[in-house]
């Protein structure tokens, strides 16, 4: 039983890591209807610039600020250079544009900062929490707990922002109906710039957490792929959905690996999430928390 709980907790906490990446997708999809394939590249670029700035001799907070500025600038630039000229184009065109964008971002980031693998230090150790180990015998990494805490704060902030602020409401309005938003005087370009900037910020948080865990290397961009099943489970338009989806994917893949792995020879966790996503698409295509398409008859 203790072992089960340990696996479950480990899974849940690693699921939070997927949620970080999924959040970035949700934000942009919600506000502009664009599936931003470049989110993974943005995560990579964020982590790389943070480490790069640190190597230039900046202190931790300064490097954080510099990386944050870089990501916001990148977001705004993307809106200006890639998306604005493509306004009113079909979604598939925009999607293709973001695929292209992901290569540009990866290339630029590596060209600028170099392509070698680096370590990223956040000052939180990846060791079991001692008091929990002593009292219950369950080992939970303090780094994982830290990540979960950051996720909770981030989601709470985003939820409050979307639900209760004037800009947040405008973002949701734009997501629902571009033209109507335009007609009541909401400037779409400003809104899109804000969304891309926020997505850049989320990518930075994701990049820092992932980078500290796995090291900053090109393979970070592939973590974006793990965000896909999370999105399908949680729903493309829901911020809480991205978190819950991440938790479900994280825990089930670890449990499946531990308890079913021996029967099929292991390696389940690389394909199990995708199978779950497929099943979900058949049963509930809008995801657990996704907005139902409202149709009037």
């Amino acid at each position: 039983m203790q072992f089960f709980i340990e696996v479950l907790l480990g899974g849940l906490l690693s699921g939070v890591m997927y949620s970080f990446v999924a959040l970035g997708f949700v934000l942009i999809y919600k506000a502009s209807g664009v599936f931003n394939f470049a989110q993974g590249a943005m995560v990579f670029a964020a982590a790389l610039s943070f480490v790069g700035f640190q190597n230039l001799g900046l202190s931790f907070p300064l490097a954080l600020l510099a990386a944050f500025t870089t990501m916001v600038a990148l977001g705004i630039l993307t809106e200006r250079v890639v998306l604005r000229p493509l306004v009113n184009q079909p979604p598939i065109t925009l999607f293709m544009a973001t695929i292209g964008l992901s290569y540009v971002i990866e290339g630029l980031a590596q060209g600028f900062w170099g392509a070698n693998v680096r370590g990223l230090e956040l000052g939180v150790d990846d060791v079991p929490v001692q008091w929990l180990m002593d009292s219950t015998g369950i080992g939970v990494s303090s780094f994982d707990l830290f990540g979960a805490g950051v996720a909770a704060v981030l989601v709470a902030l985003l939820a409050l922002f979307f639900q209760y602020t004037r800009i947040g409401r405008a973002l949701r309005a734009v997501a629902d109906d571009h033209q109507a938003a335009l007609s009541i005087g909401i400037p779409l370009q400003t809104i899109w710039r804000i969304v891309w900037a926020v997505a850049g910020f989320v990518a930075l948080v994701a990049g820092l957490i992932w980078g500290a865990r796995n090291g900053v290397s090109f393979s970070l961009t592939f973590t974006a792929l793990k965000a896909l099943p999370v999105l399908i489970l949680g729903g493309f338009t829901s911020i809480p959905g991205a978190i819950v989806g991440g938790l479900i994917i994280g825990s089930t893949e670890k449990l499946a690996e531990v308890y079913l792995g021996e029967y099929v020879g292991g390696g389940i966790d690389s394909w199990f999430p995708y199978m779950m996503a497929l099943t979900f698409l058949l049963i509930r295509p809008e995801g657990l928390f996704g907005e139902k398409h409202i149709d009037r008859v």
Binding site: V87, R166, R169, D177, Q179, A180, A181, S183, I184
Partner: protein, 285 residues
């Protein structure tokens, strides 16, 4: 102007354009996608504090005229290629929709376009986006809108997508009111609504016009209702204004009666006669 006048050919429209009013449009031409000529020289004026109706059949150019004013044309690849649009004496054709809303001109789009996943109250609040003013002031405006549309207050926490067509139309008008406009461009408010609801909505429009001093330019296919509530009317055909006049004069005009109200002294016509009228109509324009 006591009798409805026949507008002259567009080439002479400059000389016969209406006296510059509060909102005035002077001989505009609109082209979609660089090739499709939709408006061929439309001139009209809305005096302050009045309700002006823009009438005509499907595809006559009513919506295009409204969108040319509110500058939503660009989003549909349309362009005003000739003519001028003025509001309170200043050119407004190059303003973005957002700047235009700040100046007091707002459009309520055809088909209502409420934000389906936002509650009715959130829909109304988004209308105050351009004001950015203090919460208290916006609360006051919200209460005013609820005063005109008590139904919206009852259902304020319902997602707009789940409300009826009439409620959505009220929501769309209320949302525009939240921007504190001086001039509302109302596109086809009667679309898909039961006659009783249409009547209710037009009553509110008249009420808003009288007590809030909001001017209206409304595009309508329902000529009968529109002429009953409007002060002045323009009839568009094929991208041109073919007739204009006081609403009362228009509704007693023989041609308008026959072509738009389906009334005539001789009662209902058979098909052959209708074809005959079509020919006469072409001569009119």
């Amino acid at each position: 102007m006591n009798t409805p006048t026949l507008a002259t050919a567009p080439s002479a429209a400059d000389s016969s354009s209406p006296a510059p009013g509060y909102l005035s449009i002077n001989n505009i031409e609109v082209i979609y996608d660089h090739v499709i000529l939709v408006l061929k020289g439309v001139s009209l004026a809305v005096p302050k504090g009045r309700i002006v109706a823009l009438l005509g059949a499907n595809g006559a150019g009513k919506s295009t005229t409204l969108k040319a004013i509110s500058n939503l044309l660009h989003a549909e690849r349309g362009d005003v290629t000739k003519g001028a649009i003025e509001f309170k004496g200043a050119r407004i054709d190059q303003l973005t929709p957002s700047e235009l809303v700040r100046r007091g001109v707002i459009q309520v789009m055809e088909g209502r376009h409420c934000f389906a996943h936002l509650t009715l109250e959130e829909n109304l609040l988004t209308g105050a986006y351009t004001r950015g003013s203090a919460r208290g002031e916006i609360r006051d405006s919200l209460e005013r809108v609820y005063h005109y549309f008590p139904r919206l207050k009852q259902r304020r926490m319902t997602q707009a997508g789940y409300t009826s067509g009439g409620e959505q139309q009220m929501c769309a008008i209320g949302r525009a009111l939240m921007a504190k406009p001086e001039m509302i461009l109302l596109d086809e408010p009667s679309m898909g609504l039961a006659p009783q609801i249409v009547e209710e909505i037009f009553e509110i429009v008249r009420d808003l016009n009288r007590s809030e001093q909001v001017s209206f330019l409304l595009a309508e296919q329902n000529t009968m209702v529109a002429l009953r509530y409007a002060d002045f009317g323009y009839i568009l055909e094929n991208g041109r204004v073919v007739m204009e006049g006081e609403a009362a004069d228009l509704s007693s005009n023989e041609d308008v009666k026959e072509f738009y109200l389906g009334l005539s002294a001789a009662g209902r016509k058979n098909f052959r006669d209708v074809k005959h009228y079509r020919r006469r109509k072409r001569w009119l324009s």
